[in-house]
Each structure stands twice: as C-alpha cells, then as structure tokens.
Amino acid sequence: MAATEKTISAEKGSGETTRDQRSFIELCKKTGDVVVVEKEVDWDMELGAISRRATETDGPAVYFKNIKDYPGQGYFVNPISTWRRAALTLGLPAHARIPEIYAEYIRRDSNQIPPTLVKDAVCRDVIIKGKDLDVTTLATPMIHHGDGGRYLGTWCIVVSKDPETGWVNWGTYRFMVHNAQYLSGWPFSPSHFGFMLKQFVNHNKPMPVAIAIGADESSHLASTSSTRKGRDEATLAGGLAGHSIEIAQCLDSDLTFPANAEVVLEGEIFPDKIAMEGPYSEYPGYRSGEMGAGILMKVNTICHKKNPILSMDCTGFKDCSSVVTALGGGIGVQRKLEKAGLPVTGVYIPSEGAVHLFIIGVEKGKGGRETTERVLNELTQNRTYATKILVVEDDIDIFNLGEVIHAWSTRCHSGRGTIIKHVEGGAQQLTPCYNTDERMRRAGAVAAFDVSFPPSWDPTEVPMKARFAEVYPKEIQEKVLANWKAYGF
C-alpha cells in the first residue's frame, strides 16, 4: 500500500530539535550517526575523500576535529545525507520511516514560527575586516580533485534581500575561494537569489550578501527548501525547529542570519566583475553543467566563533542535497499537484535518482495516460529538475524502490505509456546528459511514464499480482503467517 499522509503512523507532538550545530553533533553521537575523526587530516583532498566515501556508503556524518594547517577549527560534514539524520533534524527517532519523516515535515511546516531578532551572534568572537581579511584563515577544503577550487560554501545559508519588497531569502548555493578576499559562486540564475541579483545588476549596483556556515540544522533545512517567491525561510525554519530561530543582523548591512551560525562572511556581489567558478562535483553525482559562468563576491567582513566548526555537504552521489530535496522538494511537488486537482497520494524523490527521478503516487483507478500527461505538464511549467517521472497507482509503495522498479518494468507500456516533453528555459543546467547548447538555453527533455493498467480495462481482467497477499485466500495467508516459525523459518 502506498504511503499517504492518512496511513502514516508518525508520532504526534514529536521530540525537541537541536538548537545549534554542536548540539546536533552531540545528538548524532548518541544515536551513532557521526564519526569523530581525531586524527589530523589534510584539507587538500583527504578530508573530501573521506567524506565522499562516507556518503557513498550511507555512512554516518563526519566531525573532523583536527585539520592540517588549521589548529582549533573543525568540520561537520554530511549533516543530513541520510534519512536517519533527516529524522533527527525533525525531532524524530533516527529509525523513523520515510513516510513518517515526510509527515513530520508537513506538520511542522504547517506551524511556522517567525524568527526573533537578537543583538548578539555566536560568530562574533572574532571579527576580521580590511587588509587583514583573508578567507584562507578559514579551513576550506579542496573537496574533489579537479574542482575549480576550494569550496567554502556547500552547506551554507546565503542571505540576500529583494531591494523592492524587502523580502529576505535564505538559500543554499555553492561558493568557492577565488582569492584572499574574494569568493566566486554559482547560485542557479533562476533561483530566488538570481532573481534578486538581476535587479541590482540592472542598476549596476553591488548586492549585499552574507554567507552563514555551521548553523542549526532546521535553518539549513529551511534554506534548502523549494518555496515560492516571497516566502521567508527563517519562519519556515522556526516551524521545522518547533521554536523561534534567533536571528542577528549583519555588521555591514541589514541582512539577517541564524544567530547560532559559527561563521558568517559578509560582502557584496559585483554587478560588473566576474571570476572563474567551478567546475564542481555536484548533486546529480557528476561534475558537469554550466562551468565558468558564476558570480563574484568581495568579502568585507569575516566573523567566527573561537575554534569554529564549519559545515560541509560533500556534494556528489547521495549527498545532503539528494535527501533534503527529496524531503522539502517532494512535499512541494505534492502540494503543487494537489492544487492542480490531481489525485496524488504521495511523492518520493529517491536520493539514488539525484533529484532527477520523481515517483508520483496516485489513487488506484485514477492513473492512466491522461493523468500522467497532466502531472508532466504541471511539473514542467517553470523550473524543471526531474528528467524522469513515474506515475504509479497507490497499490505500489512509492518508498519501496524494488516495488516501483517492478511496477515500471511490467505495467508501463513502452509505447503508449511513455510521454516525452521538450522544455526550454527552465531545465536544470547541471543535468549531466544535456549538451552545452542545451545548458546555455536551459533546454532539455522530461520523460513521464504511465505505470498503471489502463482505467478502461475491465477490472476483472486486469492482471492479478502473483504475490502472497493477492493470490491466496485470507484464511490460508493467516494460517501460513501464524505457523511461519513452526515451519522452520
């Protein structure tokens, strides 16, 4: 049975969330979800290699305490690259099932709490400005061999503000070290950040920006969410946390960031200067995409806690992006489809699909090509992340990839069940299979698969599953289950 909100057995009124990164690390220690590395590691690829391997083996998060050249600084890596740590972030037990995690996110999202502005910030132990400022005083890893440079911003909250409306955006975008006082970055140009930046560029003015690193996981999770324009991620973070997030104002601008962040860089984005950015191994699990088309930030102030712990997502196959986008993005997709009147029962964006595969559950008997086409059209109106969409009826558990693959392999007619739509202007430039021309035009294609038996078929003639629960009378099933151990199993 596909998991739906109605069938979810999530704990109601679930547990407390952690208020900052350090307490989340302590929680992960208790649940066995972090490895603390005391041995000295080299920031130049060794730290990245350890992190990458840990990610690919669905391993624990990693807390590096001893980084060559950077005594006293630490790194917390892969904070939410598993469903276990997503559960912990939302105050659930680590073993909570994926449908329970979705339900808890939705519950907290429905009870958003505005932030509280405070005077002090954790990061103000050390303040560096002017000619002494050098971003390499922060332990910044060369994460992968062949990357364009050392990436400081991977699990970060980039703060920007709309000059017309005052809307403050928190987003997670990549930034790398260009030189001692400059970072280059690549917030996807159709992103909310890109939308705001365009307004400054149109007036040839620099855009104030702040990058917060090592904040509480609720704030980071909110920062990665897919939200509509104008929505305030700090308020969403409060809902996810279950308490108001304390925010502090930057020293150089009125931008606000989580006051518990360990490191904050303040600066401005140039409207008229650029620098090399990328390549970078990204969430699709490849190093591809639009390279050398980034933005340039002048860093004017660095604030950090004494002996800061920075945060990092070891981007690539099965990284934090793939889990958090599956979570927030999946809920966003479900809401969009429900609003369009589609009979959706659940959405799963499996991390193995690197945000390129969406599995949409619909009510039994309401699948079919027409429904699939409507789903495809809804999900290709604006930004298009998925390149494959499976529409399955809810007798299939969308969170069970084995069941989904079986259903897709057997129920989807390769001819009449496959719909291809070409898109222009909203495709994801990081999609590895797109060529250079497609990436420049943000063009691509999405294939939607109708994974259902046609609704027009006589129900008594629809193929019957050859499964234990289907092809035996109830009394036989009960007898077998009751005697399972007695049989010797």
Binding site: G146, N179, F270, K273, I274, R287, M291
Partner: protein
C-alpha cells in the same frame, strides 16, 4: 593549474588569457589570478618555465603538463556581468 573550456584551446607557443591557480603548498594553495601566458611543451619550456597543469571544463586533468611563462598580469578578475561566460570574457582581454 587552470581550467579550460577545451583542452585544445592551449596551443604550443601561443599566448592566452587564463585564470591561474597557484599550486604552491600551504594555506594559499589554489588561490587564483588572471594572466596572459605563453605556453609550450618544448623541453626547454618544461625545464625552465613554471609548470602548468591544464584541466578540462569538467575537471579532467591533462596528464601532460605545459611550461608556462606569464607575459602580463591582469589582476584578480574579469569584466563581465554575473552568469556571463568567463571563457569568452577572458578571450576578449
């Protein structure tokens, strides 16, 4: 090191504007600057000039290094609007 849109963009004896990343050990490893350079794979260049490792647009390393001589330092960045193609911008310098 440098990244190139196409590895073949480097030609023996030719000059080109690139973004160079310093591979000297230490905390400033990988910091960048823009320069006009001449490259060559002649034995003399490989022996006497700085060594340049070229990487493709997706970060694949050319296993054969170049000898590199800086002809003109061009500062830290390049004129251009956000999201514009830096390779094209550097080519115009």
């Amino acid at each position: 090191m440098c990244h190139l849109k196409h590895l073949k963009d480097l030609q023996d004896g030719a000059k080109r504007v690139i973004t160079i990343r310093d591979l000297s050990p230490g905390k400033h490893k990988y910091l960048a600057r823009v320069a006009r350079v001449e490259v060559s794979r002649s034995p003399e260049a490989l022996e006497k000039w700085d060594k340049l490792w070229a990487y493709s647009v997706v970060g694949r390393m050319d296993p054969k290094p170049w000898g590199m001589k800086v002809v003109e330092e061009l500062g830290l960045f390049v004129p251009g609007q956000p999201y514009s193609d830096i390779y094209e911008s550097m080519a115009k310098m």
